[in-house]
Amino acid sequence: MPNSTLDKAKRGNPITVVKLPSGNIKSQLIRLGISEGDRLKCVQRLPGGTIVVQKNRQEIAVGFDLAKKIHVIIQ
């Protein structure tokens, strides 16, 4: 699914990050290891839409409202 957002990801989906929201939050995402072009895996989608992604061995929880603003390609 091209042109999607992270909140749409389902458990187990491999994801490519296309565009991050701008501002401070972008810098924080990049520091944590999520940047544009990165390949992540959605390891969990909690009811309500909180997303947990995995990059290599690291897991990061992303709140629903933030996930909506992260543009991704879901494979």
């Binding site: 701008s22 401070n24 810098s27 944590l32």
Partner: protein
């Protein structure tokens, strides 16, 4: 660096070549700073280097202070865990300042999270600082069959890399070498070029980098234009790409291991399995905190040590030299009243030896309760019922301290195991509805221990708006442990209906309050973005030390406010203001809340200590519904004096007073409505 033999040689040569020696080996002490992401074991290194422990934090947002020590003639500083150098929050600002002034940086990185941790490493190298890298968790690499080519990593970074395992102190013998071998690393050409446009004689490379990355405070310091967010992003993305390249080159993975704990971590995230896990945790917590500590231990420490021993002795000692009336009330084993005798010592106890003998015999009988009524106002203020010295000391040391220790202990366990960030993640969506993110669970959980403690913890929340909402929730609806114990006692035996009534009324207030605040308060709350550390067994020594340092820190910070609060209440009591309040509230209590007149007493006492208020209700003959109404009112009623003062300090006068008056209104409004319906 200074081995024993060196010292001996130096001592011998001291007199002869002293001026020369200072030339060859300047005795300048260096400023060594430990820097790393959260959960990399930084504090273990610091403890080893200093020989003293500091707080090790597993949850982003709990270590705020900087700790300084000495290591081999150098000053060593510990910093809060950060993901990068900048000024996104208070901790980063604190860490940034100390990093900027550092001579040598020891960068601790987690070998299992190279791609996350190297971002900070490269940033430190880009700052032009002398760096050595400590690659921690090397033992985990072997377990998980991951290989990291440290030599190649060292070549690529241009600085030394040391393999370490902090928990077992492996590689710690190299720390001295790491300090000495620290050097300036390799920088990307593009960035180097950019930086050179900013660097001048007065603006160092590290300052220049932060200016390019949009740090306004640093730009202002040098009075130059600050980098735009776009520029920062470009630099960040470049750095991120370099990290990814480096990781690709140096890391090999043979097989995937350590999946069991990962699995457990996932289970605790998903509500279907996570809520049962949470319930089990809560039940265990209840048995530990609610039953063992707040009932058994506190009963012993507060009554036996605090009241019967400390207060009794202090008060009777004071009573020897100042006019006092003493009531001795006798109770039998079932705590029922037997008799009461009043002793009057108009010139102090020691002035009347016969009466003194009778008094001391009677008051030492089993089941005797002794109440001292001092005549002198000043003595009353210090040693009376709400005495600054008597009540506050008992309260702080024998009621609050055991509870605070128990709560911090449980938090440390949850934190060290990696459960807390997962709990925050699981609850995130529910918290979103009231304008918070999942992290707010931490101060709210602590609130069930002590509201004052929780008020201080709101500092970890992202925005002022979130701090305001949580502070209000804490003061309005969260009963602290002292109060919970009394509420539980009053409700037990009352049956199912009153309990449900109580819970549903309080929950309704919580929902209404937080929804209103969420709508009213301007701005937006910060979204959840949380690094989930590995699930692991908590290391007990770590947990104990963490508990000790936090409890100590809290007592150090909060104690003074408990004393000031007690003093304020004491003055109110002596000046008769407390009595006036009770009289003002009395008609309101009888007609609107449909409670006996004396209940007004309980409410006013609730301002001093929340459990005082609730405990006062024990001795009244209340119907079940009257009990329910009174505990609803007391729960919603104003926080105790100490948490009021700390709230004012944390949130400012205006907001603090608004919340405080709000609780008056809410308590009487809601309590009254319920009373009108059910009584």
């Amino acid at each position: 660096m200074f081995m024993k033999t060196d010292n001996v040689v130096n001592l011998e040569n001291d007199k002869i070549i002293s001026p020369l020696k200072t030339l060859i080996e300047p005795e300048k002490s260096q400023k060594v700073v430990l820097v790393g992401n959260p959960n990399v074991g930084k504090s273990c290194f610091f403890n080893f280097m200093s020989g003293m422990y500091v707080d090790v934090s597993n949850f982003p947002g709990t270590t705020v202070s900087i700790t300084k020590s000495h290591f081999q003639g150098n000053d060593v500083f510990d910093t809060p865990g950060i993901y990068g150098v900048g000024s996104f929050n208070d901790e980063e600002k604190v860490a940034r300042n100390i990093i900027l002034s550092a001579d040598v940086i020891l960068n601790v990185i987690n070998a299992l999270n190279l791609d996350r941790d190297l971002f900070l490493t490269l940033q430190l190298i880009d700052m032009g600082k002398k760096v050595s890298v400590l690659l921690n968790f090397s033992d985990e690499l072997k377990k998980r069959k991951i290989k990291i080519d440290t030599k190649k990593l060292s070549d690529l970074l241009g600085v030394e890399v040391y393999e370490t395992t902090a928990v077992d102190k492996l590689g710690f013998d190299k720390l001295g070498e790491a300090v000495n071998a620290a050097r300036i690393g390799k920088q990307e050409l593009d960035l180097h070029f950019l930086l050179n446009q900013v660097i001048t004689k007065s603006v160092s490379q590290s300052d220049s980098l932060l200016i390019l990355e949009g740090d306004e405070a640093i730009a202002q310091k040098h009075n130059v234009a600050c980098g735009t967010p776009d520029e920062r992003e470009r630099i960040y993305i470049g750095r991120r790409n370099r990290v990814n390249e480096i990781v690709d080159i140096v890391e090999y993975e043979d097989s995937k291991k350590g999946e069991l704990f990962n699995h457990l971590g996932r289970l605790s995230l998903n509500p279907i399995t996570g809520i049962p896990i949470l319930l089990v945790m809560l039940v265990l917590m209840y048995f530990f905190i609610g039953d063992l500590v707040s009932q058994r231990i506190v009963n012993f420490t507060e009554n036996k040590i605090g009241k019967d021993f400390l207060e009794y002795n202090v008060k009777s000692f004071t009573g020897h030299y100042t006019p006092v009336n003493v009531d001795v009330t006798l109770h039998d084993e079932k705590n029922s009243y037997i008799s009461k005798k009043t002793f009057s010592f108009p010139s102090g106890i020691s002035d009347n030896p016969t009466l003194q003998k009778e008094f001391s015999e009677l008051s030492k009988q089993k089941g005797a309760r002794t109440d001292f009524y001092f005549q002198n106002l000043f003595v009353k203020l210090l040693f009376g019922e709400f005495g600054v010295i008597t009540m506050t000391v008992t309260y702080l040391l024998f009621l609050l301290l055991p509870l605070v220790i128990a709560f911090y202990f449980v938090m440390a366990l949850l934190e060290d195991s990696g459960y807390l960030p997962r709990l925050a993640t699981m609850l995130d969506r529910s918290f979103n509805k009231i304008g918070l993110n999942g992290k707010a669970v931490i101060p709210i959980m602590l609130g069930f221990g002590c509201i004052t403690m929780a008020n201080i913890t709101t500092r970890m929340l992202g925005t002022e708006r979130e701090k305001s909402i949580v502070t209000a929730i804490l003061q309005f609806v969260i009963p602290c442990s002292a109060q919970l114990a009394v509420i539980a006692a009053l409700l037990s035996g009352a049956g199912f209906a009153p309990m449900m009534l109580y819970i549903s009324v309080i929950t309704t207030v919580l929902v209404v309050l937080s929804t209103v605040l969420n709508k009213m308060l301007p701005g937006e709350s910060s979204p959840l973005l949380l690094d989930l550390p590995m699930i692991r067994f908590p290391r007990i020594s770590n947990v104990f030390k963490k508990t000790f340092f936090r409890s100590f820190g809290f007592m150090k910070e909060a104690s003074v406010w408990f004393f000031i609060g007690a003093l304020a209440v004491g003055i109110l009591e002596i000046s008769g203001m407390l009595k006036v309040w009770q009289d003002v509230l009395a008609p309101f209590t009888t007609t609107w809340l449909k409670l006996p007149k004396e209940a007004a007493n309980a409410f006013v006492m609730g301002m001093v200590r929340r459990d005082f208020g609730a405990a006062g209700l024990f001795h009244m003959n209340l119907s079940i519904m009257q009990k329910t109404v009174s505990i609803i009112t007391i729960t919603l009623f104003v926080p105790c004096i100490a948490s009021f003062v700390v709230m004012l300090k944390e949130r400012g006068w205006k907001e603090g007073m608004m919340i405080w008056f709000g609780t008056w209104i809410a308590a009487f409004l809601v309590g009254g409505i319920v009373a009108q319906i059910v009584i």
